[in-house]
Symmetry: C2
Subunit: 399 residues, 2 copies
């Protein structure tokens, strides 16, 4: 296999960020099915054809560049958050393109490329790969709406002209997704490469405490059933109770709180808040759920609240394929001998869905300051190139 | 003085609720300067004229029915919350009308009536009486906007046709406001009359914790600067620290919380929340402020937050006039001998503003279930009539 070309790779990566350029730093505004997203996918399809790959686009708008016969699939997504960084998803797609190009020039091994659609969740979470993996029928997905009420069916009609048909997953021997870490671990330790061991599982649900809305001047403290106080008490008690169950990798978050009526002179009668927890161990997710529900019930009983739960989103942890992990680890030892580590992925990725179809693995490079989903997201170009070389070396060694 | 007529009083009270009737229970939708509010004020002016009072309307839309010469002023407000009850304000206005009517029929003492405008705060808090009391120049008030951006200047133009000019407060010897309690005290004890001792003072401000917005999957717990966690910690710590300073009548409330970006998968980077506290003792309000600021600073320091404060609204406690209070107490002993009490008002009222101009007092009747600012607000009609009789008796005794 001919070596990859870092300059060509970086040039392509910078060209991709011209589609939907935010004009703020290197940021992009390229949400799924937007004009900028579709233009980027057309450009990408051109690049795939130039590389000698056969372009196929499935009904969801996932863009594939296919090698002949059985091949290893590399890629990620090219849609962005409403205010996104230039590397989130784009890095994995362009690295895949460069490795496929180098591989074709060298006469093998066969490498195919994919850019999944709507990983960033305009219509859900990793919508394009969810449908491709068979978990969600496209007829059902079509009814999903974005936050202004546009259906996925209407949104994807905008790229109907590119669609060629279904793409058979049976032709791929495995999937490797390179991605920015989107967290602080590598940046904090000064390391360059993370070989992912697991993508953590997630549980996410809304919890509602319903107390009594009252006047904040005339209602004595001892007669209040204040829904915000219930959330605060739940939060404190939960932290105590989780302490003996969690590991340093476990995370839990109350990221959304909605009080009713949310006015400074009114004792809040209702609080709806999100409870999300993530861990690489499926059993621990279950133990945490029991503690969360018990704590909410205890607080509701103590404070005269009615308690209800929204539907629970549940995604099981996904273990990366051992053989693919080993290939990435060996390659990391070559190109980043003292500066790589094994680590879990705290973020969801398309690889979670693809794991239903084939062996998968993931490779991380650092995020400066650990930040992502913002125009400021960035990675040292030297680290991007090390990531590219590790990916190429792993692909070579698997041949 | 001829006795008041309970049936005529109740009939007027029910007729007033036909203006802006919500169609839900006895509720009304009659916010300041709305069509329903202006129609109600025109009806009220008619009723005042029928009673032999001279109607004057000041530029804010406060409607006065004036007796000749020096007189005692009775009244409250007839605007409502966006979803209001039939008695909040209306009770005090119609009771005043009935007492003035009975008093005129009896040849004295002279009683004037007022319905203040925008007590419910479409443009602030007790806006009409604030301007009348001289605290806020009308030119400044004119720039205030409601929550959809309409200015007070534009809103009050709708009732310009009713305006007669300024109304001189010098003609009034005192002000008595009858009102529903809007809290649970009388309803809980089964009492019928509350003679108000003080209107509590209020402090209200927004507090902002600014931490670091982060991905809820990739950011380890120990590296988070989670703004919601800061609010929760502040809330718990504040409760501990206030314990030795407050009385059973002191209240404090976090009624508004706004997280940014308020998404379940993102560690909140910013939290803006309201902190409001009320007490009848001005010194205690100051001591509480010191504790609140110290607690916020401690939490900010512990958790790596930037801390900032919005402007603080401050209203000092108002003591009711001893002479007027005594008259109400004596009258309560006549009409509710075992079922009255002295109590503070935890809610703000127009009387707070009027106290800048003359001696003031207030009289409460129970709120069923302690609820107000909702269509369900109500009071037993027998209690309304007892309140009316106490008011009339106090007025008679003051002559």
């Amino acid at each position: 296999m001919r070596v990859v070309d870092p300059e060509r790779f970086l040039a392509d990566l910078h060209e991709l960020r011209s589609f939907g350029a935010a004009g703020v730093g290197k940021g992009v505004v390229r949400p799924a099915y937007s004009e900028a997203d579709i233009a980027a996918r057309q450009w990408l399809a051109e690049r795939m054809r130039d590389t000698g790959l056969r372009v196929e686009v499935d009904p969801m708008g996932n863009v594939f560049g296919l090698a002949e016969g059985p091949s290893l699939l590399l890629g990620s997504h090219s849609d962005s958050q409403p205010e996104g960084g230039w590397l989130d998803g784009a890095l994995g797609v362009i690295a895949a393109l460069e490795v496929a190009r180098a591989s074709r020039a060298a006469g093998g091994p066969p490498v195919s490329v994919v850019s999944f659609q709507d990983e960033e969740g305009r219509f859900g979470v990793t919508t394009g790969s969810t449908v491709w993996s068979g978990l969600l029928p496209i007829e059902k997905a079509d009814g999903l709406k974005d936050h202004v009420g546009v259906t996925l069916a209407d949104a994807r009609a905008a790229m109907a002209g590119m669609v060629t048909g279904e793409v058979d997953p049976g032709q791929f021997t495995g999937f490797i997704e390179m991605h920015i870490e989107q967290g602080p671990t590598l940046d904090t330790t000064g390391e360059q490469i993370g070989v992912v061991t697991d993508i953590v599982g997630i549980r996410d649900m809304k919890i509602t405490f319903e107390g009594q809305q009252n006047h904040a001047g005339t209602t004595p403290m001892h007669l209040r059933r204040d829904a915000f106080q219930a959330v605060s008490a739940f939060n404190s008690l939960l932290e105590e109770r989780l302490r003996n169950v969690v590991t340093p990798q476990t995370v839990w978050t109350i990221g959304h709180v909605s009080l009713h009526p949310n006015a400074s002179s009114i004792v809040p009668g209702r609080a709806v808040f999100s409870m999300q927890w993530r861990d690489a161990d499926a059993d621990r997710l279950v133990r945490m759920e029991a503690i969360i529900r018990e704590t909410a019930q205890d607080v509701a009983a103590q404070r005269g609240m009615q308690l209800s739960y929204g539907p629970m989103l549940g995604l099981e942890p996904v273990h990366m394929d051992a053989h693919l992990q080993d290939a990435l680890g060996r390659a990391a030892r070559v190109h980043a001998p003292e500066t790589w580590r094994k680590m879990p992925s705290g973020a969801l990725h398309d690889a979670t869905n693809v794991s239903r179809l084939m062996p998968v693995a993931m490779l991380f490079v650092p995020s400066i300051g650990g930040v992502s989903h913002t125009f400021e997201e960035d990675t040292d170009e030297a680290d991007l190139v090390v990531g590219l070389k590790v990916l190429a070396e792993a692909v070579r060694s698997l041949a």
